[in-house]
């Protein structure tokens, strides 16, 4: 997203996590907890158009997304929830969520039943992007992302 020209800020509780973004990352990096309103303000959440929470902790993602939506009224808020049941609860409550567990299971089922071509097509459908070959780079992350779950 940053490479596409978007103004991206990444939050992580570990400074070392930013190493993976590389030297030429054009965005901003903020060290701190994504569920701390002070940190979010420091990251400029009041100016954000979009917010994505993708730490390794479901509850942290849920809480960060709710802060973004209810407190700072960010226009588009998305969050990752690994636990399918919790994901359904919060989707029904109005968060825009996705569950990698279900997405992965769906791709696996399609691949095993119908082969690689159908699975690639399914990946395009569930990710909303064109099918990518395996080994493609990880997608970029937006404000509120924490690369690790041990913050």
């Amino acid at each position: 997203m940053a490479a596409d020209g978007h103004d991206v800020t990444v939050i992580d509780s570990l400074e070392s996590a930013f190493d993976r973004l590389g030297q030429d990352f054009p965005g901003t990096m903020v060290v701190g907890s994504g569920v701390d309103q002070d940190v979010l303000e420091r990251a400029g959440i009041d100016r954000a158009d979009c917010f994505l929470s993708v730490t390794n902790g479901d509850n942290r993602n849920i809480m960060a997304a709710q802060i973004a939506r209810e407190i700072f009224h960010v226009g588009k808020v998305m969050t990752r929830i690994y636990d399918p049941i919790r994901e359904r609860v919060y989707r029904e409550l109005g968060l825009y969520t996705y569950c990698p567990t279900l997405v992965g299971a769906g791709i696996a089922r399609t691949y095993f039943d119908e082969g690689a071509g159908a699975a690639d097509a399914a990946r395009g459908a569930v990710t909303g992007a064109a099918p990518e070959p395996l080994g493609a780079p990880l997608p970029p992350v937006a404000v509120g992302a924490e690369g690790r779950g041990d913050g």
Partner: protein, 227 residues
């Protein structure tokens, strides 16, 4: 014939707070279950708490929560050390299991307001409580509230007696209060004789023509005069 059952309270988080909370709730006669996800910690809790049900599992995991009888709980108290876990536990309890009252321990004081906004009934910040105590203890002025009376220079002032120099003295022995009209002294929820020696926590209601700030910052802070 059905016997009236004690209210069922589900405590999530078996740390120190969860342990003592559960212990006191049991002593008060409630039916309590304590949820702790660490098996070894749960075993240790079980040997201390006896008749209480210790449930080993994740307080945010829906299938596990459904097995705790959460839907018949009167109160869910989420008291782990992680604010996000407490928030989600309370939200799941309320929205999915329709628990009437949810309580969360909050570590970051800023989350108290947030949790209320996100549907938690009671959010308790130990940091806030301790800060408040330190403030009033250091200032030696207790908690003071003023109610101005319309059309007069006077006001009703309520002073909660702090731990400090006022304790043990009658109101007429305290320089600032001696000149004022004492309307009421309340202790333990009931009025007491205005001539009783004061105890910390007493609430003194005064009719005063002086600003409450004067009452607090001058005479009240000074050592009491002899009776």
């Amino acid at each position: 014939m059905a016997e009236a059952r004690a209210p069922y309270i589900l405590v999530i988080g078996g740390g120190k707070v969860g342990y003592y909370l559960t212990k006191h709730l049991l002593e008060a006669g409630y039916e309590v279950a304590l949820v702790e996800k660490d098996r070894a910690r749960a075993a240790a809790l079980g040997s201390h708490l006896g008749r209480c049900a210790i449930l080993v599992g994740d307080g945010d995991e829906m299938a596990f929560l459904a097995s705790t009888g959460i839907e018949r709980a009167s109160v869910v108290a989420a008291v782990t050390g992680d604010d996000e876990d407490n928030l989600v536990a309370c939200q799941l309890a309320r929205r999915t299991f329709e628990v009437p009252r949810t309580l969360a321990r909050v570590n970051n004081p800023r989350n108290v307001r947030l949790f209320h906004q996100l549907g938690v009934d009671v959010a308790v910040s130990a940091t806030d409580v301790i800060l408040g105590v330190i403030d009033s203890e250091l200032a030696h002025q207790g908690d003071v509230r003023e109610l101005p009376l319309d059309g007069t220079e006077a006001s009703l002032v309520r002073i909660t007696v702090p731990v400090g120099p006022l304790v043990g003295h009658r109101t007429d022995e305290v320089a600032s209060l001696a000149q004022e009209r004492i309307l009421l002294v309340v202790r333990g929820g009931a009025p007491i004789e205005a001539t009783s020696p004061l105890e910390a926590g007493d609430q003194v209601v005064v009719f005063s023509r002086r600003p409450a700030a004067d009452l607090i910052h001058t005479d009240l802070v000074a050592a009491p005069v002899g009776g």
